[in-house]
Symmetry: C2
Subunit: 376 residues, 2 copies
């Protein structure tokens, strides 16, 4: 409770910003369903909790079920937000709360409500002479710019990430080679917790040998062996997430010409993108810098994913750094830059950093080395 009380001012400020946005769009009442958005606006974090946050010009309401009642009540500023318990049907309870409010226009977060639930909710809302419609990405459009409180937490998440990776590099090569991918993942998480993180920000990808050719490989019981080792991991620190990838060699005898070549191209592409990354450049332009370099080297078809993504409360958030997104990068956006080349049955290399966009460049959030690395 302590930390949250200190921060109360932040949530009020964010809600006021959102209210301004809603006013611009002539939206009276807004129904928030995404748990990260609810946390951003209220300080209550209920992952997959089915909570509902209703913002109206007068008052705000947080609807939670029994499981989250104690937590919600102690997390939010109850002078600003009324916490309401719902028994079974959150949308029914929400429509009851809505019926007592003046405004006739009610928007709901479109990405968070399935088609059938929308129709059911619409039916209930219309009974009290209101209109229900969808809005996409409005809280996300605030969250895309990180404030100082968020940047502090993200930086700490990245510091812990660096420390954990260093601890992995300190494990002797002969020890790592007989560990399973899954065991290395859990050891990594143990380091993270030891350094003050709250665990993993997603299911780690620990991919050894030719498994590294699958960008979203699921780690298994196979011993890591002496070849390639791709580790894509991240940290949770006070709800904020980090994301990093390093590709290393367990033993230098396993290095081949092909793997050296693709590593070099990926690293060049990554450094060129970081070099170009600053306020004013568009996401598709940034993606294009890495992509062109990899294409020129003849590996265009082997780099099939986007260059990067925003990260913060969610591991993938705005802006998507891909060839279809014309969003212009701005100061205090936080993105990953992670080109890769993947050759089925041989292996893959990906190098990923997180950066904060600045006026004249970007600030790298990691110190973890990324030159061609072998364990000793």
């Amino acid at each position: 409770m302590n930390l949250i009380e200190v921060n109360t001012g932040i949530y009020k400020k964010r809600i006021n910003k959102l209210k301004l946005e809603l006013k611009k769009r002539a939206c009276g009442i807004f129904v928030v369903l995404k748990h990260e958005n609810i946390y951003y606006l209220t300080g209550f974090y209920g992952k997959d909790s089915g909570s509902v946050f209703i913002i109206s010009p007068q008052k705000s309401y947080l609807l939670v079920n029994f499981i989250y009642l104690e937590d919600a009540s102690s997390s939010v500023d109850r002078n600003e937000i009324e916490v309401i318990l719902y028994k079974k049907d959150r949308l029914k309870k929400a429509s009851e709360v809505l019926s007592s409010l003046k405004s006739k226009k009610v928007a709901v977060e479109s990405s968070e409500i399935d088609h059938r639930s929308f129709l059911r909710f619409q039916d209930m809302v219309e009974r009290s002479n209101k209109n229900l419609y969808c809005i996409a990405g409005i809280v996300e459009s605030l969250r895309i710019l990180k404030d100082e409180h968020e940047i502090k937490k993200i930086k700490q998440a990245c510091r812990i990430t660096d420390m954990a990776f260093k601890s992995i590099l300190n494990i002797p090569s002969r020890k790592i080679s007989i560990m399973s991918e899954l065991l290395l993942a859990v050891e990594l998480e143990k380091f993270i917790i030891g350094y003050g993180g709250c665990g993993r920000s997603f299911d780690f990808i620990v991919a050894s040998g030719e498994n590294s050719s699958k960008p979203h490989y699921i780690s298994g019981h196979r011993p890591i062996g002496k070849g390639l080792l791709l580790i894509d991991f991240g940290v949770i620190y006070q709800r904020y997430l980090s994301d990093i990838t390093r590709t290393i060699f367990v033993n230098k005898n396993a290095v081949t010409e092909k793997l050296t070549e693709i590593y070099k191209i990926v690293l060049e592409a990554q450094l060129m993108s970081i070099q170009a990354c600053r306020e004013g450049i568009r996401c598709d332009e940034l993606d294009g810098i890495a992509r062109k370099h990899i294409e020129k080297a003849g590996y265009g078809d082997q780099f099939g994913h986007s260059l990067g993504h925003g990260a913060g409360l969610e591991i993938h958030e705005e802006p998507a750094v891909n060839s279809g997104n014309r969003t212009i990068l701005k100061e205090n956006m936080v993105i990953t830059i992670e080109p890769g080349i993947y050759i089925p049955h041989i292996g893959g290399a990906r190098i990923e950093d997180m950066v904060i966009i600045g006026k004249n460049g970007c600030k790298k959030l990691y110190n973890s080395k990324k030159d061609f690395t072998f364990l000793s």
Copy 2:
């Protein structure tokens, strides 16, 4: 690939069963979006992969993006299923595939598509003179009854769960009391991996002392101490999940009369429910047995969640065992039974088992002891 090839017959059988269901509903083409359902029907597992599986009377299609192409191609029986790469817009690609098919009626899984995407998809589908509509829970209605392959995997997941819990009980009380909740969670996962599991089936709840009064508590860095310790955890084994909760005392000196009382009531409620659990009883009836017992003891308001839920490929799946679900339990359904009592600022107790429904009773899937337990 080995395992999957052996199992190919299963997927064909499941798809044929689904086709029969679709025929009954006069549904020509069905679009599957939930990744667990796609795995159940094809053998390809792509968590949050944005894949699309299209079933038509003639042929089936699996649409994946670049990241999952290698995996999908080697996972499915390509005599039965055509694997198609999509670049950016999965719904656009799906509508292109659909336009070449004969049937005029296309159903999509309602829970997996948001309102706005549904409207966009509908628009594209209608351009090729087809109708798009929603179907809810049709694959889930097959998945609710576990087949022998599934039961084998679930049983093994539960065996690993038992072994991991036993390993926790073997840690001396003085050692556990100074470990943080987070560290115990990661040690537990390490045991799971050591016993052949693939990791945790959800974010473990390790709640010490009064933290145990929050049913979905998020573990933290606080040392566990000598009092109550509630551990809600589970295992992934070959995609199948287990779920268990035990509430123990780290040191018997911390036991109070109140906590002894609520533990006893919860245990009685749990045993009575298991006793009554068999083919033919309705979910709401089973929930009522535990609920009435806890209400009679004066703690009705402190048992605010449902008695249990199905488990299998998802940690929460059909049937929901709550007061509003009139589903009749049948042989080979797998559910959890997990009553609890939670007293804010004091603590909570929950005891959870997984069982397979049988004709004349149920089969318990755990051997982990659940009498009032202290560590030594």
